[in-house]
């Protein structure tokens, strides 16, 4: 099923999140991540789709059906809440069976479905326990199973991994990915963590300030960001920024002059800042402030005109370094923030 928000406008008080004429589409059968910093309106969109929020104007479409005014009970969706919202008085088995019970599914059929789902999320051995006896990861699996119980046409996940530690996170990313593949249900996954999004989503919708900044695959967003906000949000360490006005001449020369004339800011990915093989090749020199080992990568903080961070410089004892910039990792932005040119364009 394809879910569409069409020209949706919504303003409601608690956190002043405002959507204005917002439009987006979640393609059928895909796992889409809605990525954005907190306060960007991700949860608002999720709740709109779930029917927990009603838009002031605009339409919500499931395929061709207008569900804007439809109660969430009748939308046939599944949802996993950030705090899981498991029913504390029901066993795992009954939690998963709850939506089916509400739909008056016969007990035998219910049990069969529970068994299937428990197998899918690998909690078959926990069925008799109460939620409070489970670890966070297990609770997450239960919540997922419950959300899938009545074969929803849309699965909504609200920051499902945010309260888990790194190992569990990895594990559950796989679970979610696999479950989505196995069931083929259209899934919207809300997160502020780009790794979650990059790792499992088919598409990422990047949201900031109540605006949809860009939609695309992880690679699209990284290599071809539409604007400064996207470029800054995706990729770690964060994009290095250098005002065009203060660029050293050798570096300026390596960029297309026509674009440069309109641009105000140069963005350089950290892996594009490399050690020049010979001093003559250097586009500028920088002072080493600090070097840190982050697993495979070495993170080098440099002081040139602006402060820069590189991940492509091997460990060194020298205090100043000659640096070259890989054109591939360069991006030029206009004063409006629009991306004018990327090194990957060629």
């Amino acid at each position: 099923m394809r879910a569409t928000l069409h020209n949706v406008t919504l303003a409601y008080d608690p956190p002043a999140t405002i959507l204005k004429n917002f439009t987006c589409t979640i393609p059928d059968g895909e796992l889409v991540a809605l990525l954005g910093p907190s306060g960007s309106g991700k949860s608002t969109i999720l709740n709109l789709l779930a029917g927990l929020l009603t838009p002031d104007a605009g339409q919500i479409l499931f395929d061709q059906t207008d569900v804007t005014r439809q109660d969430s009970r009748h939308r046939n969706i599944g949802m996993v809440f950030q705090d899981y919202a498991l029913y504390p008085h029901l066993s795992v088995n009954d939690n998963i069976a709850f939506p089916l019970k509400m739909a008056h599914v016969k007990k035998a059929a219910r049990q069969q479905r529970v068994a299937e789902l428990a197998d899918l999320v690998q909690i078959t051995d926990q069925l008799a326990k109460l939620p409070r006896e489970l670890s966070g990861g297990q609770q997450q699996r239960v919540a997922l199973a419950r959300a899938l119980a009545k074969h929803p046409q849309l699965l909504l996940l609200d920051e499902p991994l945010s309260s888990l530690d790194t190992t569990l996170r990895e594990e559950l990313r796989t679970v979610i990915h696999n479950v989505q593949r196995a069931t083929g249900v259209t899934t919207l996954f809300v997160t502020h963590n780009q790794e979650d999004a990059l790792q499992i989503a088919d598409h990422i919708m990047l949201l900031a300030n109540g605006q949809l900044q860009q939609v695309g695959t992880g690679h699209d967003l990284y290599a071809q960001p539409r604007n400064l906000t996207v470029a800054q949000f995706i990729g770690r360490p964060q994009l290095n920024l250098w005002p065009v006005a203060t660029l050293p001449t050798p570096l300026r020369a390596s960029l297309p002059a026509a674009v440069l004339a309109q641009a105000t800011t140069l963005g350089i990915r950290s892996e594009a800042l490399q050690l020049a093989s010979a001093p003559t090749e250097a586009q500028f020199t920088a002072t080493v402030i600090q070097q840190r080992q982050l697993g495979r990568d070495t993170l080098t903080s440099l002081q040139a005109a602006p402060r820069l961070v590189s991940t492509a410089i091997p460990r060194t004892d020298r205090s100043t370094l000659p640096i070259t910039v890989d054109r591939q990792g360069c991006l030029l932005f206009a004063a409006t923030g629009d991306c004018l040119w990327t090194g990957a364009d060629q």
Partner: protein
């Protein structure tokens, strides 16, 4: 849901859920209250035949000038100001002490709750026996310690104190149960997090338990005050149907009882009831107001 605003339809739906409570309340609380309100303004009134010949403020004027009523107001206020804080503090303390799952706590919980189970009348007689001058348990203990026996019940200086003690004793049970129910709702993780943050037991209480317990506390404070504003049974039982030596334990409720059932002055009784209501109401509003100012009522 989250942002839904009241509509005619949602109001009707809510009305269905509210109807049972509201209908009963309207019939058996609001309607008689209106009756009482009207009655307090009748000055030449035949209660049985319901003939009203004059309306006015005479009943309130009577209360304004009646030294007995002043005494009742004074006693009631002293009682509330004495009993309420002590009851709330003690029951919180005991509830915190009992909020463990050890086996002994279960038994103790039951014991603390016992006073509430018993009818006031019977227990009043028992207290009467404990406080009596000779042969009373309390005086027997005092004499063991070489102190003079005190005529607790017949000395106007002590009679109100005795009443306070009985009220506290009887009020503890409910409040402990309510506090325990409130503690039950607390998320222990906050306390654990606070412990990790290096908070002492006291800091944990003031910074974590107490704020989270505040809604229940406000409810208990209001409820305890209301209960003690309305003290009657205890007085009646403790002093054999009198208001204590020299009216030392005359409460507003007892005054109301006397006016309406002993003296047949129903209009004055109604007026005094309304004043009692105003007292309790303003006190509650005050508590509620302070609480709202703390800004926690609406999350």
């Amino acid at each position: 849901m989250i942002n839904s605003r009241p509509t005619l339809k949602s109001t009707l739906r809510a009305a269905l859920y509210l109807a049972p409570l509201l209908i009963i309340t309207l019939m058996f609380t609001v309607w008689p209250l209106i009756n009482a309100l009207l009655m307090s303004s009748y000055t030449k009134y035949n209660y049985y035949t319901n003939q009203v010949r004059a309306l006015g403020w005479a009943n309130f004027a009577y209360l304004w000038h009646d030294p007995t009523f002043h005494l009742a107001v004074r006693n009631t206020l002293i009682l509330v100001l004495l009993v309420m804080p002590i009851t709330v503090a003690l029951s919180l303390l005991i509830a915190l002490g009992l909020n463990r799952s050890e086996r002994l706590a279960g038994l103790l919980r039951s014991i603390y709750f016992l006073p509430f189970v018993t009818s006031t009348v019977a227990i009043g007689l028992v207290w009467n026996w404990i406080f009596r001058l000779d042969g009373g348990l309390l005086n027997a203990i005092l004499e063991k310690f070489g102190l003079h026996a005190i005529d607790w019940l017949n000395d106007p200086r002590y009679a109100l104190l005795v009443l306070s003690m009985v009220c506290i004793w009887q009020g503890l049970g409910v409040n402990i149960i309510l506090f325990l129910a409130g503690l039950n709702h607390l998320d222990q993780r906050y306390a654990q997090v606070a412990t990790l943050d290096g908070a002492t037991a006291w800091q944990r209480f003031t910074n974590v338990t107490w704020p989270l317990l505040l809604p229940m506390t406000v409810l208990i404070v209001i409820n305890t005050s209301v209960t003690n504003f309305k003290v009657f049974d205890q007085v009646y039982a403790l002093f054999h149907g009198s208001a204590g030596p020299g009216n030392a334990d005359l409460t507003m409720m007892y005054y109301l009882y006397q006016k309406s059932y002993v003296e047949n002055q129903v209009t004055i009784a109604a007026a005094s009831g309304l004043i009692l209501f105003l007292f309790v109401g303003s006190l509650t509003l005050l508590t509620y107001g302070i609480y709202r100012r703390l800004g926690r009522w609406s999350r």
